[in-house]
């Protein structure tokens, strides 16, 4: 079931070198190097407290490491305001679902396109001219995403009434609406039943394949990780202890120790 998408595989989207991040005395990441290649699915795994979420936040730019550099498309990335992350082409989902609960699934996904829309308040209120065309055009894109994620039947339902698995799917849809180059998924399958997990796996693979989106995900479910990732990086106590294809990582002694608590 692993896909073979070799295009652009070796050009780097992000290059993280020697990153150190600490909160007070707590060292969350120690001298971590990580490359993200264009078009791949990269999984970051590790036991609880290994620094996975910290790593994801360094990638997204929410955390600024005390030491080390982050290169985005070959350029050293400076400090960015949280709302500008999306403009760089990085979208994400959250471990605890962060949806706009008062809105329908459709409006949630449409909101994901906010930064792509031009603004003219008066025309928008009257639904006239360019604003009308713009709205129609964006709605078309949103409907494509809705079709893609197979959530046509719940488009108008307020998301707070949806079951967990579907909420996760809407959240993925909202991230996709940004048309990101890099998609960060923070435990996309956490708390799902087997069927929901299978659906989500399929969507992650399809996104990667059809849109060519580079995906970085954090996941606990080892089965899932090994199945869908091109590459796996393993963190333990803030240190990267392994990085390679799922098969390479699986046989690494350090990884086995970390997961079984030995060593």
């Amino acid at each position: 079931m692993k896909k073979q998408n070799e295009k652009n595989k070796y050009s780097q989207l992000m290059d993280i070198k020697n990153v150190n991040l600490s909160f007070g005395g707590l060292k969350a990441l120690i001298d971590v190097d990580l490359q993200i290649n264009t078009g791949e699915i990269l999984a970051i795994i590790g036991p609880n407290g290994a620094g996975k979420s910290s790593m994801l936040n360094v990638i997204s730019g929410i955390y600024i490491p005390q030491k080390g550099i982050v290169k985005w498309k070959g350029q050293i990335r400076k400090k960015i305001a949280p709302h500008n992350i999306a403009r760089m082409g990085i979208a994400r989902t959250f471990q605890n679902i962060a949806l706009f609960r008062g809105m329908s699934a459709l409006d949630n996904i449409l909101t994901g396109r906010n930064i792509l829309m031009k603004r003219n308040m008066f025309l928008e209120m009257l639904y006239l001219g360019p604003s009308k065309n713009q709205e129609i055009e964006h709605r078309k894109k949103v409907e494509e995403i809705i079709d893609f994620l197979e959530i046509q039947s719940i488009r108008k339902t307020p998301v707070s009434r949806l079951p967990y698995g579907l909420q996760k799917r809407v959240e993925l849809g909202r991230a996709l609406a940004l048309e990101p180059e890099l998609l960060l998924l923070d435990e996309p399958m956490a708390g799902m039943n087997v069927e929901e997990k299978e659906d989500m796996c399929r969507f992650v693979l399809d996104v990667n394949e059809q849109f060519g989106t580079t995906i970085v995900l954090i996941e606990h479910d080892m089965g899932v990780v090994m199945d869908i990732s091109d590459r796996v990086a393993v963190l333990d106590y803030g240190i990267k202890i392994a990085d390679g294809t799922p098969d390479e990582v699986r046989s690494e002694q350090k990884v086995i120790d970390a997961y079984l608590g030995a060593g």
């Binding site: 709302h83 949806l99 409006d107 906010n114």
Partner: protein
């Protein structure tokens, strides 16, 4: 019971209810967009009205005064974001609510320090005592104007929230800060928009109330009447603020006239709170508020 008299009381109640709606709207805007109950809304009404009337007294043309006052409200919004909201990002809503209580006293004090605490007459050129006659009922012309202004404002705000990119961003911010940031919505700019809008609504309310009661400190207390309006209409609904206002206005006038006699009068002052209490017991989210669904 005289039918036309009933109509007169009823319509009079509706029209005075619209005045409450105007104030309630300001609350709804900020609550809808940030989940904060803005205790300072009444003070903003006072500040806007005072600024308006004092500039007018200096002999400046009305439109210029209006423009300047709008500018002042924008500056106030920016200042509130910088000084009050920004340092409190990610705090509990109750803390932000407490901050608005402080803000309330600050703005009240500032308004009277910068201007003064006298009563000012604000004449919009609409004679308060001219009335239409419908059948045998007299309808106050000023109230009709107020109703038209409020209606227009509601229409604009509803369209704004529902159909504009910024309106959608506002709703997004209200629902989830983190998620809003992740799709590229700048929180700070949005907050400035919200408080500016609330400030402009406060200005409209201030002008209308000021020309009815005179611009004076008591205007800021009008905000208290907005609370039952909000509870009845729902804190998150723009149309709800209007319907709530109508129910409160109508209810209190009818109650005063038809029930007041039995309990010694002056029930106008507490009747709206009674209504609010009843609504709270039957429908806690208000008539038009977003339904609160709790997963068990």
């Amino acid at each position: 019971m005289d039918f036309w008299f009933f109509i007169e009381v009823f319509v009079g109640g509706l029209l005075s209810g619209v005045m409450y709606s105007l104030v309630a709207l300001g609350f709804v805007l900020i609550f809808k967009a940030s989940g904060i109950f803005n205790f300072a809304q009444g003070a903003m009404v006072l500040f806007a009205a005072l600024t308006f009337v004092r500039l007018l007294e200096m002999g400046l043309p009305v439109l210029l005064v209006l423009a300047i006052t709008m500018g002042v409200m924008v500056l106030l919004a920016i200042a509130i974001e910088k000084v009050v909201l920004r340092p409190l990002v990610n705090q509990d809503l109750i803390i932000l609510f407490m901050a608005t209580i402080g803000l309330n006293y600050f703005i009240e004090g500032m308004a009277q320090l910068v201007w003064d605490s006298n009563v000012h007459v604000l004449d919009l050129g609409i004679d308060e005592y001219v009335a239409f006659e419908i059948g045998d009922a007299f309808i106050n012309k000023f109230d009709v104007w107020a109703a038209l202004i409020a209606g227009g404002l509601v229409l604009i705000l509803s369209l704004f929230f529902r159909y504009t990119v910024i309106g959608r961003a506002l709703r997004a911010v209200a629902d989830d800060h983190q998620a809003a940031l992740s799709v590229g919505i700048p929180l700070r700019t949005i907050w400035i928009y919200v408080w500016t809008t609330a400030g402009l609504v406060a200005l409209v309310a201030g002008i209308v109330w000021g020309s009815k009661l005179g611009v004076q400190f008591a205007i800021s207390a009008v905000a208290l009447k907005a609370i039952p309006v909000l509870i009845i209409g729902g804190f998150t609904s723009v149309p709800g603020a209007i319907i709530g206002g109508l129910i409160v206005g109508c209810g209190e006038k009818l109650a005063e006239v038809y029930l007041g006699g039995f309990v010694g009068g002056a029930i106008e002052n507490w009747f709206p709170y009674m209504l609010a209490l009843i609504v709270l017991m039957i429908r806690p989210e208000g008539l038009f508020g977003e339904k609160i669904i709790e997963r068990v």
